[in-house]
């Protein structure tokens, strides 16, 4: 089998996000980038499937974006992925989810992947659209936000467990198929030191617009129908109200405020 894990470089959850002066982008200054945590589940799941099958299965990690995505690709290689592809081209800049999916779908097509794994969403823009769009473009089945995954013995189908309102849903899909990963699917491994030493020697393949059967107006900002108009900061938290008095008075006042002002009881 050929398994593709799509990975994204996103700001560390501890980074302080500042809106850039133009109001339409994020100030990259001082941001530390990490492998999107949901994509870590995708890489881990790919590696576990490979380890379970014990055949010639390979796991290829693919990331789209500027030069810095090489870091997350290297991290995935150190976890144990076999190959890595950096999809990067200035022509891809400013793409919406659909334009990016168009590019990634073409890359995946060249790889003849049997199973495509991604995170359920990027923790940066939270759109959760790219993976679903890729499956649509490729015309293959998809199961999103999956917590358990099983490949059939004949390696022709995959069964995915999804949490839905009030219970779990089991979906069986023929391969090739696309799955996005939810927390709980697995516990990602640490990159081991031997893994890091091996990853160091691996080449990261670069793919640009000229390698794909796409026109410049189908990708990046030119190929996008959705445009970010403005980012706003979260409203400031209102000041905390302190309640004075003895315990009984405080409890009484708290109950009154919860009922009359907050209207929660």
């Amino acid at each position: 089998m050929k398994i593709v894990a799509l990975v994204k470089s996103v700001p560390d959850t501890e980074s302080k996000i500042k809106i850039a002066a133009d109001g339409m982008s994020i100030d990259p200054q001082g941001i530390k980038y990490i492998l999107n945590p949901y994509d870590e589940f995708a890489v881990e799941e790919g590696l576990r499937i490979k380890e379970r099958l014990k055949d010639d299965t390979t796991v290829v990690v693919v990331s789209m974006g500027p030069e810095r995505v090489v870091d997350v690709l290297r991290t995935a290689l150190a976890m144990g992925a076999d190959d890595a592809i950096h999809v990067g081209d200035p022509a891809f800049d400013g793409g919406d989810s659909q334009a990016n999916a168009r590019v990634l779908a073409e890359v995946i097509r060249t790889l003849s992947a049997d199973l495509i794994l991604g995170g359920k969403q990027g923790i940066d823009y939270d759109a959760a659209q790219t993976c679903a769009a890729i499956a649509e473009i490729l015309g293959i089945p998809q199961a999103l936000i999956v917590t358990e995954l099983k490949i059939s013995d004949d390696k022709k189908t995959v069964t995915a467990r999804r949490r839905v309102e009030g219970g779990d849903e089991l979906v069986e899909m023929s391969l090739p198929a696309l799955v996005t990963c939810e927390k709980g699917l697995n516990e990602p491994r640490y990159a081991s030191l031997p893994g890091i030493m091996k990853a160091k020697k691996k080449e990261i393949k670069k793919v640009g617009l000229s390698d794909l059967p796409l026109k410049a107006d189908a990708v990046g900002a030119a190929g996008s129908k959705a445009k970010v108009v403005r980012y706003h900061n979260l409203p400031e938290r209102p000041p905390v109200k302190m309640i004075a008095g003895d315990v009984a008075t405080q409890a009484k006042e708290l109950a009154r405020l919860l009922r009359e002002e907050a209207k929660v009881i």
């Binding site: 290297r74 150190a78 640490y190 990159a191 030191l193 031997p194 890091i196 030493m197 990853a199």
Partner: protein, 381 residues
């Protein structure tokens, strides 16, 4: 700090940091309070390769080298210096001398198990009557056929309670001083190997320190490390490397002191404002951060020299001396910034303060480091 780490070292740092924060940190306080050796963590560190960083791939290690080792050691020591010293000893004082001085048979016999943590090791030089005066050791080995019979006592042996093998420096020729010492690889299962009481220490409470004694302990001649009579040279050469590890431990402890102090200075209020707004606190933090960065660069420099096969004894001593004294100053100031809270077990700086103290003592006291540095300057070797 923005020292440009290579991609490989950045990944090592990332893996060590995540392991330290997610696996070691949550249990470090408990282990230290209970004096519990973190056997499970050490096993996992072995699986991830943290114990075989100086062992070439041919012998089951990962050959990351000294630079990668100090980067990883800093992260582990930042959350737990007890786990940190266990890791440092295994890499620098046990694996490294076998890699450097061992013959093929010894390397194949011990390194693959040591590199993966399947076996733990210890280094035994000090004795009840000799510490800084290492060449004054009296534990003896007498040749008897194809083996040596060892007798004597070794003091302050880190990981001694858990170690499967011990590299022991023992006198084989009473007529000679430094040239009468030989290094042996001793296995704990051999008859006559006794593990003494676990010492009750001020700090590093979840690392074990014991006295070991050898009573008519028979060691095959094949387990002589290097050659007869070069044990003292092996001991000192090994410590040159170990000191870089301890210097890195000091940097890790100091980083933890700085992190805790910055956090506290932002949270704690006095006289109607954050204490971080008082210049008295700011100067302490600024000095702590500056000296910390200087120490880290000394550690990086010594590790880099060692990896390149350059002379590094002076630089290792400088790094160890400066970093350990820096860490103690940082720990003292961290407690001071925390005030009364810093004196309580509830805050982590109390442990950092106790743990930092040993870095000025073991693997060569600050006094010995100054002697080493001065001897290089004055060409008195």
């Amino acid at each position: 700090m923005q020292f440009p780490l290579s991609e490989e070292h950045r990944l090592i740092q990332q893996t060590a940091r995540e392991f330290a924060d997610h696996e070691i940190a949550p249990v470090a306080d408990k282990h230290n309070r209970e004096g519990k050796f973190p056997a499970e963590l050490v096993k996992r560190m072995g699986e991830l390769g943290f114990l075989g960083m100086l062992v070439p791939e041919t012998y089951g290690g990962n050959g990351v080298g000294n630079f990668g080792l100090v980067v990883a050691l800093e992260e582990v020591n930042r959350v737990c210096a007890s786990t940190g010293v266990t890791m440092s000893v295994q890499n620098s004082l046990v694996c490294a001398p076998i890699v450097h001085w061992g013959n093929e048979a010894l390397k194949h016999k011990y390194l693959p198990k040591l590199a993966t943590g399947e076996m733990l090791g210890a280094y035994a030089l000090s004795e009840p009557g000799s510490g800084s005066d290492a060449a004054g050791l009296v534990a003896s080995a007498v040749k008897d056929g194809d083996s040596y019979v060892l007798n004597g006592t070794k003091n302050f042996i880190t990981s001694g309670a858990e170690a499967d093998i011990v590299i022991a420096m023992v006198r084989t020729d009473p007529a000679q001083k430094t040239r009468g010492i030989t290094a042996f690889i001793v296995e704990r299962d051999w008859k006559g190997f006794h593990v003494g009481r676990k010492e009750d220490k001020m700090g590093l409470r979840s690392s074990s320190t014991v006295q070991l004694s050898f009573e008519d302990l028979r060691v095959p001649a094949a387990n002589v490390l290097g050659e007869i009579g070069i044990g003292f040279k092996i001991a000192l050469h090994t410590l040159d490397g170990g000191r870089i590890g301890i210097a890195s431990q000091a940097v890790g402890i100091a980083q933890a002191c700085l992190d805790a102090s910055v956090r506290y200075a932002e949270e704690r209020e006095a006289f109607g404002q954050q204490i971080g707004k008082f210049q008295a606190m700011q100067w302490k933090l600024a000095d702590m951060a500056t000296r910390l960065e200087a120490a880290r660069l000394l550690v990086y420099n010594a590790a880099r020299l060692k990896d390149q096969g350059e002379p590094h004894a002076k630089e290792a001593s400088m790094a160890k001396l400066f970093a350990s004294e820096m860490a103690n100053a940082a720990a003292r100031d961290a407690v001071q910034i925390h005030g009364g809270a810093g004196y309580l077990e509830d805050f982590p700086v109390e442990r950092y303060f106790r743990d930092a103290r040993i870095t000025e003592i073991y693997e060569g006291t600050s006094e010995i480091q100054r002697i080493v540095i001065a001897r290089h300057l004055l060409n008195l070797r």
